[in-house]
Amino acid sequence: MSRRAITRDDAVESIEAIRSVLDRTTRYTHISWAAIVMAGAAAGLSAGAGWAFDISPVAKPASFLLLWAGTLIAAGAFGCATTARNARQAREPFWSRKLQVVTLGFLPAAVLGSVITVLLADTGRLDLAPGMWMGLYGVGILAVGHVLDWEFQVTAWAFLVSASMALFPLRDRPHIAMLLAFGGIHLGLGAFRYFKERR
């Protein structure tokens, strides 16, 4: 095997090269600010509709679930479209290894959230759903935080704090809780990403 003497500068340069490759190849950066803003706007509209039409999670559980499932699907579809566009621009496959890591990391929280939602609907306690969704959404983001930029970890903690608010002081105000969390936090993150990408 070929071997030769090494200097400290060689070592520093090599460590930097390793770090640079790992940063470039493991960090997922295709989540578009537009998709995040769209998610926030969709959540804001749905919260407004829920409040305007008095879609209570306890009195009208089916309508409440339909409203937020529709919001999730709309935001998810827009997110997929913008992610695919970003991947195309970067000449990467849409279903890249990095997206697989993000999806698989988020999956446990999503599955658990679905199961508990069914349980809450079954027991007539959908008033607890917004707080539970926020908490598991935060946990899901934290689970994949190591491949995302730091602001996503801050977002995750913001959702965990929101979960506590939604489960206690705002339990009787689900639309306000959803507006503040899924609307406000997403809009804040989207705006931050917009200015960051343009710096």
Partner: protein
């Protein structure tokens, strides 16, 4: 510094991995375990010829293995890092860490 590095066993370095492009390829392969030819070429910003050349060296030393297949009638080349490759990479990184550690303990001598 040189005397101390020799005493600590740092005088040798695996040149197969230390070469800049191969170091990038090995870092990518060790973190991903396997990757397609096009994925590595695009992620690392290499040309087809350059990547092929360096992969042949890594294959020759038993650090990587190639797998060729047909996907939708199109040829697909995938590379896997071998256990030997992972061990060599770990040993390489460990030598770097020890050198940097030695440098930290000897301020003003690096």
């Amino acid at each position: 510094m040189t005397t101390r590095m020799k005493a600590a066993g740092f005088e040798d370095l695996n040149l197969v991995i230390h070469e800049k492009t191969r170091l990038a390829i090995m870092t990518f392969l060790v973190s991903a375990r396997e990757a397609s030819f096009s994925e590595m070429r695009d992620e690392l910003g290499l040309t087809d010829g350059n990547l092929t050349l360096h992969m042949k060296v890594l294959e020759k030393h038993g650090y990587a293995r190639v797998h060729k297949s047909l996907v939708r009638r199109r040829p697909r080349t995938t590379y896997h890092v071998t256990e030997r490759g992972v061990r060599a990479f770990q040993e390489y990184v460990s030598v770097l860490e020890r050198i940097l550690d030695l440098g930290r303990r000897q301020p003003g001598r690096g």
